[in-house]
Subunit: 560 residues, 2 copies
Amino acid sequence: MSAGLTPQSLADRHRATLDTALDTIRTRGYWSPYPEHPKAYADAEEGKAAFEALLGHPFLFAAEQPGTDEWTGGERSPYGMELGVRYPHPDPDVLLPAMRAAMPAWREAGPLTRALVCLEILARINARTHEVAHAVMHTSGQAFTMAFQAGGPHAQDRGLEAVAYAYAEQVRAPQTAAWVKPQGKRDPLELRKSFTAVPRGIGLVIGCNTFPTWNGYPGLFASLATGNAVLVKPHPQAVLPLAITVSAARDVLSEAGFSPDLVCLAADRPGEGLAKTLAVRPEVRIVDYTGSTAFGDWLEANARQAQVYTEKAGVNTVVIDSTDDYRGMLSNLAFSLSLYSGQMCTTPQNLLIPRQGIDTEAGPRAYDEVVADLAAAVERLLGDDTRANALLGALVNPDVRARLEAASGMGEVALASREVAHPDFPGAVVRTPALVRLDAAKPDTEEVFMAECFGPVAFAVAVDSTAEALRLLRRTIRDHGAMTVGGYTTSPEVERQLEEVCWEECAQLSLNLTGGVYVNQTAAFSDFHGSGGNPAANAALCDAAFVAGRFRTVEVRRPA
Amino acid sequence: MSAGLTPQSLADRHRATLDTALDTIRTRGYWSPYPEHPKAYADAEEGKAAFEALLGHPFLFAAEQPGTDEWTGGERSPYGMELGVRYPHPDPDVLLPAMRAAMPAWREAGPLTRALVCLEILARINARTHEVAHAVMHTSGQAFTMAFQAGGPHAQDRGLEAVAYAYAEQVRAPQTAAWVKPQGKRDPLELRKSFTAVPRGIGLVIGCNTFPTWNGYPGLFASLATGNAVLVKPHPQAVLPLAITVSAARDVLSEAGFSPDLVCLAADRPGEGLAKTLAVRPEVRIVDYTGSTAFGDWLEANARQAQVYTEKAGVNTVVIDSTDDYRGMLSNLAFSLSLYSGQMCTTPQNLLIPRQGIDTEAGPRAYDEVVADLAAAVERLLGDDTRANALLGALVNPDVRARLEAASGMGEVALASREVAHPDFPGAVVRTPALVRLDAAKPDTEEVFMAECFGPVAFAVAVDSTAEALRLLRRTIRDHGAMTVGGYTTSPEVERQLEEVCWEECAQLSLNLTGGVYVNQTAAFSDFHGSGGNPAANAALCDAAFVAGRFRTVEVRRPA
């Protein structure tokens, strides 16, 4: 290591944070080392300027990547402007061997040094949160505050969480052990053993358009902390946040005396489908992917030389049986449907409501009333354009807009989507969510709501009963997967039935949320994101299973 | 639970053993709760009689399995006799749903009760060790003492080790957590969270012919302890040891108040290939397999609905550079090559020896001398027929015999295999190992020794230098996999180079074994069996990665 970042200086800065993270993944209380309020960061203007200085230029790393055969890019902000940044496109035959060559020294550094270096990388990214926030906003379409929080500190939390799990996992075997087996009256058999966590190879992170950092950091840091090199292949429309991330990682690795090529960026040529080429390379032994079910399934079937962790599509359901806080339920659901225009993998899609209505603290409400009241709650929440823009953000791409426009043909529109003008970005496509009434008893209706309709569309589905809702919930999770399940009930029996379905079908359940926590939000160190046990995802962010397969333990034994 | 096995009585009997196992998988010293000496078990005659009583009859469980559509069997002992036992063949459409129906109560019992029930099952199996030993001997062909130890206490150790890992993994998240997020001057956000380990579904254990219990128990107990039901599909020639195991498990489950159908047996019709049918059933979510590379690859490619853990073929190498205990090295290697006629997945196949010879404490030895001395050591070890029979056991099947007979055509025979007559079983095919000289520099020779030649055949391969041996070792592991690597050297530099190869290619290394520990033996709680990182196996027995994916954690959160 260079004088800049020594094991001691890294430990002084980060050891306590690592220890708290290790403690919190066991106790699962609230904790974050990264403040989530933009005002906690002094450099709002500098961060914005740093972002703007990147636009229209090639994105240069301090240490050039090996094997760059051309420069490519074509990001267009959902807020309307071209970013004009160009990124290195790799020749895999040059880049991948260079990355592999960087690995032995990283392996030899051991789990603790790797963890501390990762924490320094996260600290550098944290210091650039404003810059990253603008990059996330202008690639994902998230409104600024959300881009700041979800793309900044919350993503950093998920990265740190992965580092903590990776560290904990690697030190479960001791570095050395003495083995002494008694042999009766003869001398015992004695061996000296050493155990070394060794990496698998290169980890490929395939980024998504909507949450490039939040969904990218767990795999990136889990693979890096377990000794692997990491190649980041961002979504072609969301390269910049991950390019900044890779840049920070490369700087820190160099300063700590390691090869910067342990973390590299691979940008697609337009329409190239580079992920398909990289994912089946023999050097690539781990793949982390967030995106469509079709490509996730392709990766699982074809990238057989690698451990493949996927988060794919799902259909999220809320079962509405009864509530003792009707207003709270409505405003909570309204917020969940509106946040980032429903473009979260965790946004509820199907609200299953008994046809005969529900019980509330103010007496029964008919199905029609519940739907109308929810529509009104969404309208109230988004009635003011400034607030609407701050919550909704922009539609990430034309497909989402097309789906939204098609939604009114799928059923009876209870709440129509409306256009919201953005004061700063006239090119932004900002839309409020549509609420569509469906009746589960009608023919061919089930196919409509059991398919993922990603974007600002929710279905208020009339069902025969809560029991029928539970059956539909079970089938939805089993056949289509779910990242989240919500439930509202005052009945302990229904609560237990909801739990049973989620335990048996393996889905994460939020019950009776009426305040400031939403079904679509999870907190690192405490909540699991996805279960890894239903078709929506084969891994959870973040647990031991997410890291345990990224390295192997090699034992060397010799006579004592 | 019935009065027989209560949580308290189970804890009284097994909690201390579980705690010691949990401690030992962290410290990795020597430990076993199951004595390995046959004399430690009082019931030698009763055990043999119990085994003999099973022969020629249908194998009946105390509680009949659902969905048995016929009785099948056709085991012939490698020692010559027909076993004549018949086993239930399942109708999967009846059996698998019955097994699934048994799971909710087992999930609800929680990790600790599951672990304690598993320990009681292991205790029952341990009490039947003599019976199991005869069953292992007469299916695998192992000599009695080995069948007793490897098929009995050592297999039970591996089962207990899997239970310990499974328990540790499931309690890494707390059962409940309070989450309190400060909100500045406003009231904090507060949630109550619960975390439940939920099973994946049915675990299918596909047994092998040579080590039905040792290789079967880790997957069986890892899946069962994590809440899954387990269907055991033994090798058609090695059903009996696993039938006894399933019987013990069903008894204990019933006595503890659970459905016995949490553990079931599925026997093949002759030539049926039942594993192929079962492995792709949607109810089957975990597969544990030991056997050929071809079928292992098939499972990995096709059982896509399941987590697939495979141990396949590999090519094990010993690099001989130098030694300061030449006699010790020769006798250690002679024993490794002879034990169970080389029919262990861990038996060395290729001994890479520099053409110009090696240094020893008594001066240099030429390649020819080393080969001749090793041949003499094997002859000395096996010169007495009683001792030879006790070490070699019988060839498990005619394929092994055919390979052995073909081996003399592969190179120059340094030590010919000889027939050993068995005093009690004239039908047994008992053979000493053949040692064949090859020269790596000769054309087409590499293909010979780089293919697995399973059975009592070892190649003494002349190589240009130790450096060339290291290159061949690396290529062998990378392209063909290895369960074990051995090395003999007095040079710290060569030792380091051997370690580097094994760290980079992910193989378990034994250095300079000259005493009573052999490269082909691993001890539960301390040694990893396989690395899971080279083509020989995608999992190690037993580590956290082996259990972490067998269950998922489902979180339920609600306002506090």
